[in-house]
Symmetry: C2
Subunit: 411 residues, 2 copies
């Protein structure tokens, strides 16, 4: 029998591309100030090795020495910190009827914000021009020398095929057929451009900055013009075989329900989303003559405000939406057993007014075991979550492969 030695201490799944430099950079990013010795302990490498890697990383400007820490009984450590200001990222949120752009630093702080309504569905070229204009405005507002972003992330309200991410939107928005939004942005700004579905990027934002920090398996639901879900599995966005994983808008929840544009009956999308919610308000208005929604602006924001003011009509509409969402979430829990479910988008502001009826609907349809394991919560990232997630995508890509950072050479 041959001898069996111990495995070299290797923590699986820490860095996916590149080597030790990637791992160290990610670790410094997560722990905002950390000594070389501590990096060595946590990565399983020797102090000498870490010292050398840090020495190679310092001149890139991505990390810096930020003073000294407390002694643990010996010499005081020199703390290494991540330079959040080393570069900036543009996050673009293409909605169904608006474009928003965020300029962020490398820790997801939104430095500048621009948004504008636009008929996105019918005007691809105008949308691209608008995105460029808003992006330039964000960069120009930084003053003292217009910075070059390290990359641009784009969120689109449509599935993105992981196989050919550059052909997008065709199925949902016919006017966008063969229009190359990403190419326009890349040509103008001359930096790498990434795309993904808006719900997926919302999930990514929650994972980095929201309620899903530290949770690697969760589902994120987004209610907006339409409804979609972003699935994070093992810390990675899950897209499925053809990129339509999480497209829950057309799950049938009532076989006798109204007809849907997809051809089936009773899809979730016929109950929840901007249009069905507003039409439901109109249908119920006669029964609630004293509702504040009578005569108010017919938009989701008014519905939210009314519900927060405990307007009976608004609460009834929200309650119905919550129960319909609950049916679908119950299916998600039974099938995927996520560690957490986060509800974002339009209705997240409502907090318990949404969660209480939703949780009731879920509890009546799931095993105790899977329901108990999953906490259902509302997002707190607000309406900027999608653009923030788009920027986060660029950051995550760079942390996984630091050669994306400007001025970082391979190693």
């Amino acid at each position: 029998m041959t001898t069996v030695r111990r495995a070299k201490s290797s923590r699986p799944g820490v860095g996916r591309e590149g080597g030790l430099a990637t791992e160290v950079l990610g670790f410094v990013w997560r722990r905002k100030a950390v000594s070389r010795a501590e990096i060595a302990r946590h990565t399983g490498r020797s102090r000498s090795t870490i010292s050398e890697v840090v020495g190679r990383l310092l001149p890139t400007g991505l990390i810096e020495e930020v003073g000294s820490g407390e002694s643990r009984g010996g010499r005081r450590p020199i703390l290494i910190g991540f330079r959040d200001r080393a570069s900036v990222i543009l996050g673009v949120d293409i909605g169904a009827a608006h474009v928003s752009v965020a300029l962020t630093d490398l820790r997801g702080r939104i430095l500048e914000w621009r948004e504008e309504d636009h008929p996105v569905r019918s005007d691809p070229q105008g949308t691209a021009d608008l995105a460029v204009r808003l992006g330039e405005a964000c960069l120009a507002a930084r003053g003292n020398g217009v910075p070059t972003p390290m990359g641009i992330g784009v969120a689109v309200p449509s599935p993105v095929d992981p196989g050919s991410p550059y052909r997008i939107l065709e199925r949902i928005l016919p006017a966008w057929h063969a229009f190359d939004l990403l190419g326009e942005l890349r040509d103008h700004f001359q930096v790498p451009v990434f795309v993904d579905n808006d719900a997926n990027l919302g999930a990514l934002a929650e994972h980095h900055w929201g309620k899903a920090v530290g949770i690697d398996d969760f589902a994120y639901l987004k209610v907006a013009t339409g409804i979609g879900a972003g699935l994070m599995i093992g810390g990675e966005i899950y897209r499925g075989a053809t990129g339509v994983a999480g497209e829950i808008g057309h799950v049938a929840i009532d076989p006798r329900g109204p007809e849907c544009v997809c051809g089936n009956r009773g899809c979730l999308a016929t109950f929840v989303g901007t249009a069905p919610l507003l039409s439901r308000i109109r249908a119920l208005l006669p029964q609630f003559p004293q509702s504040v929604l009578n005569g108010a602006a017919a938009d989701i924001r008014a519905l939210e405000d009314a519900a927060l003011a405990d307007d009976p009509l608004a609460l009834k509409v929200v309650d119905e939406a919550a129960r319909n969402l609950g049916i679908v979430i119950a299916g998600v829990l039974n099938l995927m057993n996520p560690g957490s479910v986060i509800v974002g988008g339009s209705l997240a502001r409502l907090g318990d007014r949404l969660l209480v009826p939703l949780s009731e609907a879920v509890a009546s349809r799931t095993l105790v075991a899977s329901a108990a394991a999953s906490r259902i919560r509302t997002s707190e990232l607000g309406p900027r979550a999608t653009a923030l997630g788009a920027a986060t995508h660029v950051l995550a890509a760079a942390l996984a492969d630091p050669r994306l950072f400007p001025g970082v050479s391979a190693s």
Copy 2:
């Protein structure tokens, strides 16, 4: 700007633990006969490196030179093959009312098979003793020197918590509380023991030997005493946060349906599974007096046989079951967008008699885009799939970390 060199050719996700030896071993296993030069080309390493690794692997007995191949215009290559007979594996299938044991080689060929009915639910110790006895019988039957298996895989009809896989079955089978089945097997055979849920292992078997070869994202449904699903995502079994992912038995498909043991109403488990199917036959018998099921043995096998003989009652029961399964599968497609769906277990033998109504139910509940991408098929592995999957689990673990193979040292 610092120079940016090309990445070292590294194919991500090939070997997960250990180094090049793991990668080479896995490659040789997949391609049954392959030259050193070809390994070098496919792994991106140099011929000299591969030559050295192969040289270290040969004396372990896991691979061997198996003759020479066709010349491609130069010297003829020496083909390297995997020695499927280098060791054997025991796969144990603990069912609800039976125990099956398979002895396999390293390519999933079943060399010996033993099975016996047993009141598994109520008798844990007897079940463990039976598994040991059947396992010993398999080994003894190999003749010329009883071999030592390299490991034992166990399939259990219950979720397995990835956090503490040794505490199992408690929720489903109270009599098994704190009984250590795995410890019994490990103590007796003195080899590593692995466990997983039966549906998960069925999916693993399909991935290696069945209809899912080459497909890394798919769902496997198993109909037996109960009903469960195994989800493969990115080539790995997905267990969810607490190990109950794929427990679809309690998805509610009819809010007005019969009460279920779980406390809800209209769960899939109240419609599909051994007990509900047999009870449905009994309920319909008066309407089908000339059915061959009248007076036949009341088990699933009789139902299958009758359906294959186009017995109207059997076809009606199967049709109903297929439509109920279809509802749940539609949910799986909408949410996970798998590349393929495979139906195994009791009803798989029925082929199109099951698939036609099932596909109809699915088509009426899914978007064209996700339904078109997913092929729904029946398994062909038959009733031995679960035990085979259990053995496959051991093999997969060893291929991912060859130090598990007897006589292989670290490196």
